[in-house]
């Protein structure tokens, strides 16, 4: 990772990534951080790891007809991310803006490897994605995410539970095992990819404060949107 204040990959913008399990609170934190950055006059682009129109229909159809395999599942997501990267992430990065990504290629590394895809092969798919300036990893025990799910009465989705892997017939047990694998993958990457680890069991306010403090050096001398649009 680059030193504070030095843009990675030679792009004038800054790439800030949020990673972690579902229910780790990263989306809330990403949104709050975006608000703060905007209030300070920076131009912020926010993207999420959602399937775009390009492949969401394919995933739906593939699932219905039982055609999806770990490999096509992986390739579909890589295609989708490449499309989003080339349309939504790269232009603002080149133009010198802040891009906040709620999940990035690391999500694919963790998920695809948990499904048995070869790690070298998966990493090759995402070679187009530059290393972020900061990757915040919201570290949380699987049990905590499960408790949060229950509290919010949200249902565990098929793929979130890794039901396609046949780890268990019981959704909750499958979820526990699959998310456990993902957490192991994230913990490994935290070292190799130099994530900044945040203890996601803390309060929303505490975490947001430490995020803002950590990010401040990266913003030193970084131009606001106003300064990029008007000369003089």
């Amino acid at each position: 990772m680059a030193d504070p204040g030095t843009p990675a990959q030679g792009y004038p913008g800054r790439l800030i990534v949020f990673e972690g399990l579902d229910g780790s609170g990263k989306s809330t934190q990403a949104r709050l951080l975006g608000k703060w950055l905007q209030s300070r006059g920076y131009r912020v682009f926010h993207t999420e790891w959602n399937s775009s129109e390009l492949v969401s229909e394919s995933i739906r159809r593939g699932k219905k007809k039982g055609l999806l395999t770990p490999t096509t599942f992986s390739l579909l997501h890589a295609t989708d991310f490449a499309d989003r990267f080339e349309r939504q992430i790269l232009p603002p990065l080149r133009a010198g803006y802040l891009v906040v990504c709620d999940r990035y290629s690391f999500t694919a590394f963790a998920r695809d490897e948990a499904r048995g895809c070869a790690p070298t092969w998966v990493r090759n798919l995402y070679l187009f994605a530059p290393k972020p300036d900061r990757t915040y990893y919201f570290r949380v025990p699987v049990d905590v995410t499960l408790r949060r799910k229950r509290a919010s009465r949200s249902k565990i989705s098929y793929y979130e539970a890794g039901m396609d892997l046949g780890l268990s017939d019981q959704t909750e047990e499958s979820y526990r095992r699959f998310q456990g694998r993902l957490k192991q993958a994230y913990d490994r990457m935290a070292r190799t990819e130099r994530f900044t680890i945040l203890d996601a069991r803390g309060s929303v306010e505490t975490i947001q404060q430490s995020l803002r403090a950590d990010l401040a050096p990266l913003l030193q001398g970084f131009p606001t949107g106003e300064r990029l649009q008007h000369e003089g």
Binding site: L54, V55, E57, S58, R61, G62, K65, L67, L68, T69, P70, T71, T72, L75, L76, A78, T79, A82, D83, E86, R115, G116, C117, A118, T120, W121, N124, L125, L127, F128
Partner: protein, 247 residues
């Protein structure tokens, strides 16, 4: 008997049983006589009593629709398009080629990963990236590359269709606004990619500037040993591409 192998990446969930069928690939540009040869070879092998499943780079159920949309001008950048084609290929490999080979049929492929790699590389992907992307593909028993000069391809296209196709001319690459020039240049670039793949993947290259009858005779000669009772087999014909292959 050696187990069938891939180009370096094992697919998760591959069947444990041996894939006993034969995988024959015919490669070549449009106008090289490829499709004609696939039809003739299929006919000949069926007359010999073999069960043949033909496959090509047609659109699969999974991503056919996004590919069609992309071709109609919903522009996708090079990487996205390369990944979309790879998804399509993986779908056909897992849902059609592998089950057919497992049942003992011969799979006759009208183009394979080599065309897809060549297209990706001429559009800016590195050779190393494309090779790794398709490293999960099964190693065929035989790859025949029908090699024809761009000028010959051009004359055949014009005499058959009366014009040069947009995609076959590489018009999306902005090589030249002149379609004639773009066609020759683009086909020349693809041919150069096939030249290194010929070495790395052990193709049998045939001179396809000749009459289809002569090409067919050569193809039959190359295919015959695959069905000889003693000469089995899979994964032993092509040498493995060097891991240091040019990129």
């Amino acid at each position: 008997m050696k187990a069938r192998t891939h180009y370096g990446t094992e697919l998760p969930g591959m069947p444990r049983e041996r894939l006993t069928g034969r995988l024959i690939v015919i490669e070549g540009a449009d106008g090289s006589g490829r499709t004609t040869e696939v039809e003739r070879l299929k006919e000949a092998l069926e007359i010999d009593g073999h069960s043949i499943v033909d496959t090509g780079l047609r659109r699969s159920t999974l991503v056919g629709e996004p590919i069609d949309r992309a071709k109609q001008g919903h522009t996708l950048a090079a990487t996205t398009l390369a990944l979309l084609y790879a998804t399509d290929f993986a779908d056909q490999l897992e849902n059609k080629i592998v089950p057919s080979l497992a049942s003992g049929s011969t799979v006759l492929a009208d183009r394979y990963i080599y065309t897809l790699m060549a297209r990706a590389v001429v559009r800016g992907a590195s050779r190393a990236w494309a090779q790794e992307l398709y490293s999960f593909a099964l190693r065929p028993d035989l790859v025949v590359f029908l090699d024809a000069r761009p000028e010959i391809l051009m004359h055949r296209a014009i005499s058959k269709y009366g014009s040069l196709d947009y995609w076959e001319s590489g018009m999306d690459m902005s090589i030249s606004p002149d379609r004639f020039e773009s066609f020759l240049d683009y086909q020349g670039r693809l041919r150069r990619e096939f030249a290194w793949m010929e070495r790395d993947y052990g193709f049998h290259t045939l001179d396809a500037n000749r009459h289809p009858d002569q090409v067919h005779e050569d193809v039959r000669r190359l295919v015959a040993p695959l069905y000889a009772p003693t000469a089995r087999r899979a994964g032993t014909i092509n040498p493995r591409p060097g891991s240091t292959a040019s990129g």
